[in-house]
Structure formats: C-alpha cells, structure tokens
Assembly symmetry: C2
Homo-oligomer: 216 residues x 2
C-alpha cells in the first residue's frame, strides 16, 4: 500500500544508469527526518540509512560525509521554498497584495515545515558553514518591498531597512509559533497584516486583502 511509509524494508537495486535515484531518496528522507527533528545535529547518517532501507555505507556513495548530506538536503529545501515563494508572489494583484501573498506563503510553509525552518535558521551549521543559497530569500523580499514603494503604495523609504524590520518581525512571529507550539496565539495572518501596515506603511483595506472578512 503505502510505499512512502517509514522504514520501507523492501528495496530493489536501481538499474544501471539510475544510481541517482537513491540519492534523491536519501535527500527526501533526510528532509523528512530533519523536519521531524528540527535539529541537524540530532540527525544521524545511520538513522537516515535505516529509514531509507539501505546500509549506512551506501550513503557515502552519493555524499562525502554527514554534513554534505545535510547541506545538500537544505539546499534543495531552500530551492523549493524560493520557488514556492516566487510562485505565491506571481499571483495577480498589486505589489502590496503580492508582497502579502509572499509573506503568508512563508507563514504557511513554516507551519507545515517547522522543523526544516528551525534547521535552516537556527542550526549550528549556520555558524560552521555559509549556506550561500539562503541569501536569495532576503533579496527577493527586499525587491518586493521596493516594488510597493515604487508603485506609491508604501511611503518611499530605504527599502533595505524597512525590509530588514519586516523580515525580523515576521521571522520572530513565525519563530515563536514554531518553538512554542503550546502557546495559543492569534492567527499569524493578522499579525503579518499589522506588520505590513505599521512597518512598511501600506494600506491594506483597499489594496490586496479580501475586502472584509473572507471573500465570498
């Protein structure tokens, strides 16, 4: 039935040129486990191999060591996230609505991938290595804020500083919810809207938000 279930025991060898399929499986399992653990140091190469259903040594066929495996997984994870964010922002609407869609997509992604968010932003791997692929995230948000200012939908200001504040605030809001899931907090959406209004200076009622209450 469920071929994607955990600890899949039956696993055939891949055909001749298809060794890369195991690599994808390993990365996929690594991401699932990192998401469950929320900490890269808690993930063991042997546990990944057990979960995939292969010998621990087979991981070394595709990754030189444990850190390379984690980094490769995080790189793909970031790439997927950036793609999702851009897609969310490409929805129709003015720049404010699109910036809002970007932030809300991030909020939803973190709700569904809290562990990965923790690994990406809080892991001690950040201090050991650079993870250059993460830089795209900040840059694209700044561009989205800049577009709001250029369109006259937000007061002209230093977009970099405004975005830094906005990102810090959203990051904090999201981080609290991920790290203290027991706390009963008001919906993230409302908080993001307040940040957009107070930190960026947009007016939401007439721009992108479904006018009042839920649309339709």
């Amino acid at each position: 039935m469920d071929t994607t279930s955990s600890t899949t025991p039956a696993r055939g060898r891949n055909p001749r040129g298809q060794g890369e399929r195991l690599r994808r499986d390993i990365i996929g399992t690594t991401l699932r486990m990192l998401n469950d653990l929320g900490d890269d140091e808690a993930l063991s190469l042997r546990a990944v191999a057990r979960e995939v259903g292969i010998a621990a040594t087979s991981v070394y066929i595709h990754f030189p060591d444990r850190d390379a495996l984690v980094i490769a997984a995080l790189e793909q994870c970031t790439h997927d996230l950036v793609r999702g964010l851009d897609q969310a922002e490409s929805a129709p609407g003015d720049p404010v609505a699109r910036l809002r869609a970007r932030l809300l997509f991030l909020g939803a992604w973190v709700r569904d991938h809290g562990g990965l968010y923790k690994v990406l932003h809080e892991s001690t791997l950040n201090q050991r290595t650079h993870l250059a692929f993460k830089e795209e995230l900040a840059a694209r948000t700044t561009a989205a804020v800049q577009r709001c200012m250029d369109a006259g939908l937000a007061p002209a200001d230093d977009a970099a500083t405004v975005t830094l504040d906005l990102r810090a605030a959203v990051h904090g809001a999201v981080s609290i919810r991920v790290n203290e899931p027991a706390l009963a907090l008001p919906p993230l959406e409302e908080q993001v809207d307040r940040f957009l209004i107070k930190l960026v200076g947009v007016r939401l009622g007439e721009s992108g938000r479904p006018s009042l209450g839920k649309r339709a």
Copy 2:
C-alpha cells in the same frame, strides 16, 4: 592562577554541610557550556563533569538525570535574566524610557549570552517539557507597554496585542543576529527604536532617548 578556567583539575572535597556548593558549580559550568554550544542536546552530562573536574556519576548526587540538570540550569538562568531586566527597567525616566531600557538590556544580554538565548527559545526541550518559569518574561513586558499607554505616551490600544507584535519583532531581530553572526547588520538599538515608534507608537525624541546622537 585562574581557578575558573576550563577543565580545572584540582578539586577538593567540600566540607560536611557544603555539598550544595558542588551543585552550584555544576549549574554554573552547565550554563557556560550551554552558552558555548547553543543547543541543549549537544550537552553531555559527562562533558559537564569533566569540565567541573568530578566523576560523571557525581552529578547524580544533585540531579536525577541529564534533563533535570539542564532544566535546573535554565531555571536559574531565566531567574537571573528576569532580575536583570527588572533592574534595567527600574532606571529613572518615563515609562517609554524604561520600556526601552528593558528591551535594550535584553538585546545586550542576548549579545553576551547568545547560546543561552538559543537554548531557552529554540531548544527541543521546549516541546518535551513546559518550562513554566519563562512565562514571567512576557508578562512583564506587557505590563511595561501598558504603563506607556496609561501615561498617554503611546496611543491606547490592546496592550497584549501590541506587546505580542513588539516581542515578536525584537525576538526576530535578536534571533537573526544570534543565528547569523556573520551578517553585518545595523545596530540593534536603532532597530529597537524603530519598533517602539512604529509598533507601539511612542515618540522617542522627546521621551527617553539621549536627545540626539550620544549624550554628552
């Protein structure tokens, strides 16, 4: 010479009624190591014992298991932090200046104790146990914001919501700096001031901040 240095080898037995001194030493070392590691799961009971200069089993005289040791350390850490925050807020000035002093003290504390901040807020221990002693932190900030509103120095609003936003923003700003120390970000102080102005609605120039530039 330096009796507080790492891996102190010489360690005499405590006199009869003074067994609690070892407990304090263990907690102190645990806090130092947690601060260095920034992750509670990375701390081993054996490493603490090595650092203190005692046998690993001697830790069990004062703490039932490893988690209890970490929790006891975090409880004292939180208690000290709350005391420091209250002391910073007790400085002379109007409620806005005192709220600002509280936030800036937190910022300085996190700069100096980044690892402990990470353990307190990001540790997976938060999901396993409740750590009730942390609740005081939020409550006292809300009270400080409420005082600003009561004094007419901030627009009257729901203090709980405003504080949630302020805390999220400051938490995010601080968290980014702790987790990405390589990033060259503008001073936290300026960012906190913007949050106070934009999120709480205070006017800083005439209230608490050293008028323009540095005082004197």
